[in-house]
């Protein structure tokens, strides 16, 4: 008789398969851990830190931390949620997020996680960075004001599309998204609206043109249910080229 290995998360037993991380195992079991830079079809990245948990007393990123049998994980504690609220406030402060006018409102993971954690104040003085909008491409536009630097578009373009359309340059607070063209314009890259990279952005940076506000308010993914009730939607799966429309 063989029983699959398990760990406990806030007292609940979570089974896992060899090689899974804590976040992957939890989402597979339909248990939610807040996350932003993780995507079910990609190798975890570990940069947003919103998934920070305590595993056997140690703060680690749930998305990259390997699950181990018998591990004791704390997740939905006030201490951790407080930490996550601060991280979300930091991301809002760092970019320019004007949700009411953003087409991705209601679809946006940053907004959804913010609502879910009840982030009610700005917390920090906003940076108001000057970031350009790139509308050069006929099918796709980039509003870099909203970029949270999760690198999902970079990973999708590298690993699935094989095009290397996106990359990062600068460092520290000067880190920013770049595209693969000498001119620096999206129009001069190989980007196509059908690329995987066009559909992975968790926030409203990479948007398809001629398709704005398609889903009516009230029916958008996070209008229906808070993100914390949709854990299974993020269970790891192999990369698919076309996502069903949300």
């Amino acid at each position: 008789m063989s029983t699959s290995p398990t760990f406990t998360l806030d007292g609940r037993e979570i089974p896992f398969e060899a090689g899974q991380t804590v976040l992957q195992a939890a989402l597979t079991a339909d248990v939610y851990i807040p996350h932003l830079c993780y995507h079910p079809e990609f190798k975890p990245h570990g940069s947003c830190k919103v998934c920070t948990i305590k595993a056997d007393g140690r703060h680690v990123s749930a998305c990259t931390w390997p699950a181990r049998h018998g591990m004791v994980v704390e997740n939905a504690t006030e201490e951790l949620d407080d930490l996550r609220r601060t991280l979300v406030q930091m991301l809002f402060a760092e970019g320019n997020h004007f949700c009411p006018s953003c087409e991705y409102s209601g679809h946006c993971l940053l907004q959804a996680v913010g609502y879910d954690l009840q982030v009610e104040t700005a917390g920090f003085r906003h940076f108001f960075p000057v970031r350009p909008v790139d509308a050069s491409h006929p099918e796709v536009w980039l509003d870099l004001n909203r970029c949270i630097l999760c690198e999902l578009c970079v990973r999708a373009s590298d690993e699935v599309d094989g095009k290397h359309v996106f990359g990062l340059s600068g460092r520290g607070a000067g880190k920013h998204l770049i595209v693969n063209a000498l001119s620096g314009r999206l129009a001069d890259t190989d980007m196509a609206a059908t690329d995987k990279a066009a559909e992975v952005c968790p926030v409203g940076v990479i948007l398809k043109k001629k398709a704005g506000f398609r889903v009516p308010i009230g029916e958008r993914p996070f209008d229906r249910e808070p993100v914390s009730a949709q854990a299974a939607r993020y269970a790891p799966r192999p990369p698919a080229r076309h996502r069903e429309e949300d």
Binding site: V165, L168, G170, G172, A173, G174, I178, L182
Partner: protein, 627 residues
């Protein structure tokens, strides 16, 4: 060569550089660094050319150029002057000196002169704190900057004399060894340690090491060869000198037991922690000992290739280091079948960094060695199993390798006899700041802070920053504490502040250091260090309130709990330590008000005043109560 010969053609220089590096993507950073050195910048067109030649996307090349402080896509001028901006440089008046030079050259800091001749700016600590203030001209280090020396430098620049033809005495950097012990006074000749390691037994276990899970299982006979030396390292109780104090024998053993067809030994000579300069002295005057330790390590773990990752600021040591390597190859201390031992082959390549403190973090260092942006990796897996090119890799500090060489030569018992029971051997301390005799003090572990202060002639000491900004700041009530892993663990910086110093300004300088050096990978550090630096500036400008101190405590918690690497974890240390121990220094800068709007009304009008050229009272707004 005739005087009329044309300047080197960019294309030819570029071709030669690409050729020398075999157009390998792992060499990207080295290629870019050399192009920068030759041409003064790496233009967009050249970046595109390099991308094509290396079969890399342009984004990859641009990402690297944008990451390292010593690379740039636009020209910085034929002369690039960078003033070291550590707190010790500040204390020695580097800002006045920078102003002085800018006035002589008629330019503003940060902006190249109109004729493209020269630019002047600041950079993170250049490791010359014992003979500061320091600066770099086109990457070459100049110590002990004074007005007189700057006047000479200004003349040389205006005259257009190539830096290679500047008077040698400008570049004379001394060791300043004030106390030597087992490492700095070592009696080893090149090859002694390697010979001693080889004499402990034959090579039969080198091959076995590679593919057995544990040498303990595979070998019942008393340890010979590499294992015998590993045992000496273990019994010496050697711990890493790079900061974390990891047990060296355990690291070497894990690397030796890891599966992989090729293993690597990496010497971490990035020495970026402000106030640390002991590796500079080891590399300048004891390079054989460093390479010896690396070779012993290669023998123990079964590595065939090694790298020395030299921080860009120490570029001036490159020539001498390469010569030492060449001599060691001639003496069969490197290369194939070292000292005639069949199968023991190892060679060392030097990679030069390009201005990024985070590359001292071992996994970021490995990324940098692979020619990428220096972003710390997700761990596990650790470098001992998945390091350079995902193969088993041992990374150690320069000083750790020196100690390892001594242990290989003299044995673990001999080594352990110095120091404390928990901290064996000696520690090289980089003493700088307010003391009569700054320099290198090699002291046995267990030496107290007070003893070091007395040795270096420090008086009226208010505080000592141990191990740089990522370490601990202590006041006089703690000066009886000991330099040791069990008390004050340190990578070697020992920066002294006397009673005349404003400890708030010390912390503010360090806050800017972290914000400047954050790699930007993770949210807490990228955003948190920026907010911290801005908050410290706000307090400095007289707009701080107790609320800001609370915010700093929040930032500290967030960084500690969630940052991706040690840089973020420790970035609030100097601020918190100084708030805890020197609160009055902060309170002097704070407003009495409980709350001060973050928005500065008068400050917001600054641009308008500049544009209109007005500065009369009517052009100012005030939130101060009328008195």
């Amino acid at each position: 060569m005739s005087i009329a010969s044309p300047a080197p053609q960019p294309a030819a220089a570029l071709g030669a550089i690409l050729e020398r590096h075999d157009r390998r993507p792992e060499q990207l950073l080295q290629i870019l660094r050399e192009v920068q050195e030759h041409l003064g910048h790496v233009s967009d067109d050249i970046q595109a050319h390099i991308a094509r030649e290396l079969h890399l996307p342009l984004t990859r090349v641009r990402g690297v150029v944008g990451f390292y402080a010593f690379l740039s896509a636009t020209p910085w001028g034929r002369y690039r002057v960078l003033f070291s901006d550590n707190i010790t440089d500040r204390m020695q008046g580097n800002m006045d000196l920078l102003d002085h030079l800018c006035r002589r050259l008629l330019l503003e800091p940060g902006h190249p002169s109109e004729d493209g001749l020269v630019s002047v700016d600041t950079t993170s600590c250049t490791g010359l704190c014992d003979q500061g203030p320091g600066l770099l001209v086109n990457g070459r280090a100049i110590p002990a900057i004074s007005r007189e020396r700057l006047d000479l430098i200004a003349e040389l620049i205006l005259e257009g004399r190539p830096v290679t033809a500047w008077p040698a005495e400008l570049f004379a950097i001394v060791d300043n060894v004030c106390r030597a012990d087992m490492v700095l006074d070592n009696d080893l000749d090149p090859g002694d340690a390697v010979r001693a390691a080889l004499a402990r037994g034959d090579m039969s276990q080198v091959e076995q090491a590679a593919n057995t899970r544990s040498w303990r299982e595979a070998n019942v006979a008393p340890p010979q060869g590499p294992l015998a030396t590993l045992n000496e390292i273990r019994s010496a109780n050697l711990r890493g000198r790079g900061g974390a104090g990891f047990t060296t024998a355990y690291k070497w053993e894990s690397c030796r037991n890891a599966q992989g067809e090729q293993r690597y030994v990496v010497c971490n000579a990035d020495e970026g922690e402000p106030g640390t300069f002991k590796d500079r002295v080891l590399l300048a005057s004891h390079a054989d000992l460093v390479f010896e330790g690396m070779t012993v390590c290669a023998y123990v773990v079964g590595a065939g290739r090694g790298f020395l990752y030299l921080r860009g600021e120490y570029r001036y040591l490159l020539g001498a280091l390469e010569e030492t390597l060449a001599r060691r190859r001639r003496d069969h201390l490197l290369g194939r079948d070292i000292l005639g031992t069949p199968g023991f082959s190892f060679d060392i390549e030097i990679h030069v960094g390009a201005g990024a403190y985070v590359c001292g973090e071992e996994s970021a260092l490995i990324e940098s060695l692979e020619g990428k942006r220096g972003i710390p990796r997700n761990r596990p897996p650790y470098p001992v199993t998945h390091g350079y090119l995902q193969r088993p890799t041992t990374v150690n500090n320069v000083e750790t390798f020196c100690a390892a060489a001594l242990i290989a030569a003299h044995g673990g018992d001999w080594y352990r006899a110095t120091g404390t029971p928990k901290s064996a051997g000696t520690k090289l301390m980089s003493v700088a700041g307010d003391c009569a005799r700054p320099g290198i003090y090699e002291v046995p572990f267990g030496t107290t802070v007070a003893e070091l202060l007395a040795m270096s002639g420090a008086e009226h000491t208010q505080a000592v920053q141990i191990s740089g900004p990522s370490g601990t700041c202590i006041g006089p009530d703690e000066f009886e504490r000991r330099i040791a892993f069990e008390d004050l663990a340190t990578a070697g910086a020992f920066t002294v502040f006397d009673e005349s110093r404003d400890m708030f300004e010390v912390a503010r300088n360090y806050a800017h250091f972290f914000a400047h050096e954050s790699c930007g990978f993770c949210t807490p550090c990228r955003v948190g260090t920026t907010i911290l630096a801005a908050t410290m500036d706000k307090i400095h400008d007289g707009h701080g309130t107790p609320y800001d101190l609370e915010e700093i405590a929040t930032l500290d918690r967030v960084l500690n709990q969630s940052a991706h690497c040690g840089l973020g974890h420790t970035s609030c240390n100097p601020t918190l330590d100084t708030i805890k121990r020197f609160r009055p220094a902060y309170e002097l800068h704070l407003k009495d008000l409980d709350f001060e709007p973050a928005f500065d009304l008068d400050g917001a009008l600054r641009r308008a005043r500049q544009m209109t050229g007005r500065d009369d009272p009517g052009a100012h707004l005030t939130t101060e109560p009328e008195s």
